[in-house]
Each structure stands twice: as structure tokens, then as C-alpha cells.
Amino acid sequence: MSSRTPTWRDIPISNLGSTKMTVLNKTGDWRTFKPVVDVDTCIQCGTCVTFCPEGIITMGDMGAEIDYYFCKGCGVCANECPVKAIEMVKEE
């Protein structure tokens, strides 16, 4: 994103299904608990990617990667992980 302030021409017309609206409104600081992935335990099954309600987990070479700019700390990934590789840690 450029440093220029976005105008009405730049922003998406709807809250729904658009990446830009969230990109413009980083929501990661809403979090109380942060999911932390233990890459040694992670078996890269993709369960957390599927379950994440915000769609912000991707599967990297080492294991699940979480976009902390947008993760709201709901804990669904940690709950669903079959090998308990994700731990919810209280934000400082």
C-alpha cells in the first residue's frame, strides 16, 4: 500500500469479500491471545487453514503461517489442530 491517504476511489464498495477493506483496517490489535505455531510439531495438514474464520492462515514450507496483522485471536485454529501444535499465548 502506498503512503498516500486512500480516497473514495481507492476503497472497496462493500465490506464483503474484499481484501482491501481489511488491508486498510489492520485488526490484529484486537487480540488478547495470540496463536503461536510450533513448527516442529506441525504436520502441515492444513486443518487450521480451513477453519480460520478470517482466512489469514497459509501453509508455508515450515508449517502454518499466521498473518498477525489480521488475526483476532479467536483460538479456533488451536482448538482444531489435531496435533496441538498451536498454543494461545496472552498478548503482552
Binding site: 486512500p6 473514495w8 464498495i13 462493500s14 465490506n15 469479500g17
Partner: protein, 420 residues
């Protein structure tokens, strides 16, 4: 109303398949046919008088397999109806629904969500007076209540108008310059239950006119892996900009409605003025009536009568209420001495008159040479509007045009116990 689907399961309709045909339809059934011809895919709907026949006709279409592409959903309330409509539209389906009076009021919250999220849902409102004082019979406050929500609003005069406007509405709303939901409205009973011969266009030609719905900016398709959120921007960072985008879309809609009206006329041979307004015998008129919906038909007759008597009066049918055709009205009143707005709606304590008069006054205010503007309340809470009432209105406007002076800003036509 003859059923389109015979009880023995045969669904033969006059003229056979893939042909345009003529049927005896009332407004409700015409609206249902417009949804069928437009291939609406999700129909969340809740019955309410006087819209129930639209609901039951669509139910019959789906049940008899005549709309195999459609999902007919029966939620627990109108509020849920509009919620489901929003979800289905966001998910990529063409959505049709319909309601009236208390049902529309109950939907209110989600009506604003639909517009703000730019979901091109099409809703047919069969006008009925909101309680209280309520009635099963029509006035137009239920649809006019949505004036600030960001929905396009077109008003229909008869069942044929309802069918054509219903089909056109999908095309207008789904245009990427617009992407707003749309209401097409007509008065219950007077249009809703009054059957006239209606020309139904050939389904294949409608398909050609109206390609399948695909929103350019919204997708909840999980394959696309987009972030989805319904969160309101915090501190309203982009709220003003989003509202301005809707204003731009409304301005675009004026152009789109005209284009669609032209295109439709070329394909199907029926045209509604320029799409936004329809002028009738306005040449050299000193006095002008402005009407919405079914009163237009009565007013045409009265204008014919008065023209025969040599009176310089014309008629403008306001087809589009949102976007409000400001420029076209300014053009239409050039050289006119007095304008009368026939309002079948209420707004107690308003700046003067009904909602139509308020909007018209605003549209004409900046003109240096403007006509006198008279407002007429008529047909409130479902009272019948008779030719005599419209003639009374027309004569008042003619008198104002002649004398250059309006006795009153607002007339309560039909009011018992008041000398007018």
C-alpha cells in the same frame, strides 16, 4: 385469477414454449413472473397481505419444477428474509423477494445492510398502508420509508409495468456502475389484485437481455480465498467515502435506468417514458400534475378530458423515485406555471406536503424561474382515489396556473369535515 399451473399437473400455457405470450395477470402474479423470467436463484420470502399471491405463485413455480434453478426459502420472519437475501446475494446468487407494509418495516435493519454492502437484491413491494392507522389497502409509505437507505425505487402503474420493471430492475441493479439493491413497487389491490392482459416476453430473449449475475467486486467463494468480514471500519475511517460511493452509484443509475429502458424497448417493444419520468400531453402545458403508481392511469383520463375542454394541462409520471430525476423534472417544468404533486403518502409535520412534494420542491428550488408547487394528499390509508378526486386536483392546479397564486401549499383532498 386463473391458475397458471393446472391442478392435474399440466402446465401448458397459451402459445406453447419459447414464445412470447399474453396472459391475464394481476400485479402480484406479474411480479412473480418477472422473477421467473429473470431466473432468480434464491427466493427468501414471507407472505403478507396484499403480497401473498406473489409468494404463492413463486412457490407453485418452484414446486412444479418450472424454476429448477431456484431455491425457495421460507424463513421465520421478514427480518430473516432480508438477512438470507443478503447472504445469498453475497454468495453469488440472483435474489428476489417481496413484501409489504409491516413486513417491510420489520426488514428495516437488513435493508440498510443490503444497500451498504452493495448487494443487487431485487424486492417487489406491494404497497399497503403501514399501521397505525393501518389498512390492508394501499398507500406508499412502506416503500417510501426506504428513501434514505440507498435502494433504487421504481413505481409501476399496472401489471404489465410491474412485469417489465421487475425484469429491468435486475439489469439495473446488477450493472457494475450501480451495484445497489432495487425496489419496484405498486399499490396492493389497485394494481396488485387487478388483472389485465399482460404480454410475457420469450424466456430466451429475456436470457439474452439479462445475462447471469456475477458481482465484480464481491465474492464469498471459498476457492478465491479472500478475506471476508462484515466489520464496520473502526472510527468510521472510510464511512464518508463509502456513502459518497453510493451517491455516485445513484447518479450512475439515472443513466443506467435510461439505457435499460431503451434496450428493453428495442427488444420487447414496450417503453416507459425515458425510464425515469414519462411525460403525457405536456406540450404547451401551463399546469402539470405529477403522479406515482396507479393514480397515473386515472390522471391520464382526466388530462384527456381537460385537454378536450381546452385546458392547458399535462401529466408527468414519476417512475423513478430513487434516484430522483431532478434534471428531468427541471426540464419538464420549463414554461409551466403551476405543478401539483399527487402524494399517496403521509409525513406529518413535514416542511410542507407529502414526500413527493418535499422532493420536488427541493429539485426545483434552485431554478430562477420556477412554477408554483401545490401538494395534494389523496388516497391515504387505502382510500380509493376516484376520477373526481383527480379532477378536483387538476382544477386546483389549473386555477393556480391561471391566477398565478396558490391558495394553499397543501390540500387534504377527501378530508371529511374540511371545506377546501
Amino acid at each position: 385469477m386463473p391458475s397458471q399451473s393446472n391442478r392435474d399437473g399440466k402446465r401448458g400455457i397459451i402459445g406453447g414454449n419459447n414464445m412470447s405470450k399474453r396472459m391475464l395477470l394481476d400485479g402480484n402474479h406479474a411480479a412473480a413472473w418477472s422473477a421467473r423470467l429473470a431466473k432468480a436463484q434464491v427466493i427468501p420470502i414471507y407472505p403478507i397481505t396484499p403480497q401473498t399471491e406473489c409468494c404463492t405463485q413463486l412457490s407453485e413455480f418452484v414446486e412444479h419444477g418450472e424454476m429448477p434453478w431456484a431455491s425457495y426459502v421460507t424463513p421465520e420472519s421478514e427480518h430473516a428474509v432480508m438477512g438470507i437475501a443478503c447472504g445469498a446475494s453475497a454468495g453469488g446468487a440472483r435474489v428476489f423477494t417481496s413484501s409489504a407494509a409491516q413486513g417491510v418495516v420489520f426488514m428495516e435493519e437488513n435493508i440498510w445492510i443490503a444497500a451498504g454492502n452493495r448487494l443487487p437484491i431485487v424486492m417487489c413491494i406491494v404497497n399497503r398502508a403501514i399501521a397505525n392507522p393501518g389498512s390492508l389497502r394501499p398507500d406508499c409509505n412502506d416503500s417510501l420509508l426506504q428513501r434514505d437507505a440507498g435502494w433504487i425505487q421504481l413505481y409501476c402503474e399496472d401489471a404489465q409495468d410491474a412485469l417489465d420493471t421487475g425484469i429491468q430492475m435486475f439489469k439495473i441493479c446488477e450493472d457494475e456502475r450501480v451495484y445497489l439493491p432495487g425496489i419496484f413497487a405498486f399499490e396492493g389491490y389497485v394494481v396488485g389484485h387487478c388483472a389485465i392482459p399482460v404480454e410475457l416476453p420469450d424466456p430466451e430473449e429475456v436470457d439474452d437481455f439479462l445475462p447471469p449475475y456475477k458481482h465484480k467486486f464481491i465474492s464469498l467463494d471459498p476457492e478465491l480465498r479472500k478475506y471476508t468480514t462484515t466489520t464496520t471500519p473502526r472510527r468510521g475511517e472510510f464511512g464518508t467515502e463509502r456513502v459518497y460511493q453510493m451517491q455516485v452509484a445513484m447518479e450512475n443509475a439515472k443513466k443506467v435506468i435510461k439505457e435499460v429502458n431503451e434496450d428493453y424497448a428495442k427488444r420487447f417493444g414496450r417503453k416507459y417514458g425515458n425510464g425515469l419520468i414519462e411525460k403525457y400531453r405536456c406540450e404547451d402545458a401551463d399546469a402539470l400534475l405529477i403522479t406515482m403508481g396507479s393514480i397515473t392511469g386515472t390522471a391520464r383520463k382526466i388530462v384527456d378530458d381537460l385537454r378536450e375542454e381546452g385546458e392547458p394541462i399535462g401529466l408527468v409520471k414519476l417512475r423513478s423515485f430513487r434516484p430522483f430525476p431532478t434534471e428531468d423534472l427541471r426540464e419538464a417544468v420549463k414554461g409551466v406555471k403551476a405543478v401539483g404533486f399527487v402524494d399517496r403518502n403521509r409525513s406529518p409535520g413535514s416542511s410542507g406536503g407529502g414526500i413527493g412534494r418535499i422532493e420536488t420542491a427541493n429539485a426545483l428550488y434552485s431554478l430562477t424561474e420556477k412554477p408554483l408547487l401545490l401538494g395534494f394528499f389523496v388516497g391515504l390509508v387505502g382510500r380509493d382515489v376516484m376520477p373526481g378526486d383527480v379532477r378536483f386536483i387538476a382544477e386546483k392546479v389549473l386555477k393556480a396556473a391561471e391566477t398565478g397564486k396558490a391558495e394553499k401549499d397543501t390540500y387534504w383532498v377527501q378530508l371529511k369535515g374540511e371545506e377546501i
